[in-house]
Amino acid sequence: MQAVNTKIMSEKINQKIAPTVAEPPEGVSGQGFFATSIEKAVGLARKNSLWPLPFATSCCGIEFMATMASHYDLARFGSERLSFSPRQSDLLMVMGTVAKKMGPVLREIYIQMAEPKWVIAVGACAASGGIFDTYSVLQGIDRVIPVDVYVPGCPPRPEQIIDGIIKIQELAGNESLRRRHSKEYEDLMKQYNME
């Protein structure tokens, strides 16, 4: 037994593990420099360092805890630093049932976040009220704040939450730097009474 174990161990130690790096965007490269458009560079930086605000209210929050844990590690995707302060985060992850009384609080949190910001609604309750079609539950957080990605499920598996984060990364990476000043965006904010 002992001999077999040391053999496997030494094989593992001698294995060369190639680190994965992000794919570079299109651009012109030469000796010691790489030129690309600023949108692509900024997009690449933003998408690989999204700092989430876990607005975990319910069971989906537990699935998020599993996603952040070592087995389904979310920190691999750059979400290493979670903050509960909206002023210091990029991505608002609403996970769980939001009550009608909680709606204005969620709106305040969203308003306090600095641009650029993205919102992901994790779970059936955040997306549409879920099975709780009742007087006390907000029937989907898109009644109070604009949402970018919806992750359905009750609760969604950690793999699905990670899939949602990858979609947010695609949005963040491809976003035009002028997007937030566009008419569409301002109309959207007007719809939600946020200037």
Binding site: K101, D133, Y135, Q139
Partner: protein
């Protein structure tokens, strides 16, 4: 399992009827617990008597909750009392007409009734006289309706996407 104590049940009924005569409307044994229906005019002195009497000593208000009887057009309150000393539980019910939903408060007798009465007001609309802070506790403050009444619809009425044929209606 709650042990039924028929001697103590009879003692309570005897003492209450001797004190309050016909304000005690009915009494029955419902699911192991004695349930006494009391007229709302004497509910406050009745609860005070149950708490302070030396033989009865119902010092603990376990809970109080609202009731709605649409066929009788009545709103009511049920109090669950518990005597630590004698290990005896009892249920007291009062009712009031739905068009005049006023009942006296039990906060002066047991301070725990404060939040319980706020919840009863929030969900049934029963107004408690002399309550120190009668406002909504669990629902949104601006809500105008009372959700636990039997005529309140079960589902949120602002949804447009629920297809009746898919939901078996």
């Amino acid at each position: 399992m709650y042990q039924i104590n028929p001697d103590r049940d009879q003692l309570v009924v005897k003492k209450l009827t001797s004190q309050f005569n016909d304000a005690i409307e009915a009494h029955e044994l419902l699911a192991d617990m004695l349930c006494i229906c009391v007229k709302k005019e004497v509910i406050q002195p009745c609860l005070l008597f149950l708490r302070d009497d030396n033989e009865l000593q119902y010092n603990f208000l376990t809970t109080l909750c609202g009731m709605h009887y649409p066929e009788k057009q009545q709103l009511g309150v049920v109090y669950h009392l518990h005597s630590f000393v004698n290990n005896h539980r009892i249920r007291i019910k009062t009712a009031t007409d739905i068009n005049d939903p006023k009942l006296p408060t039990a906060t002066a007798i047991w301070p725990a009734a404060n939040w319980m009465e706020r919840e009863t007001y929030d969900f049934y609309g029963i107004l408690f006289g002399d309550h120190p802070n009668l406002k909504r506790i669990l629902n949104v403050d601006e809500m105008t309706d009372f959700p636990m009444r039997k005529d309140f619809p079960l589902e949120d009425q602002t949804r447009e996407d629920k297809d009746d044929s898919m939901f078996g209606r």
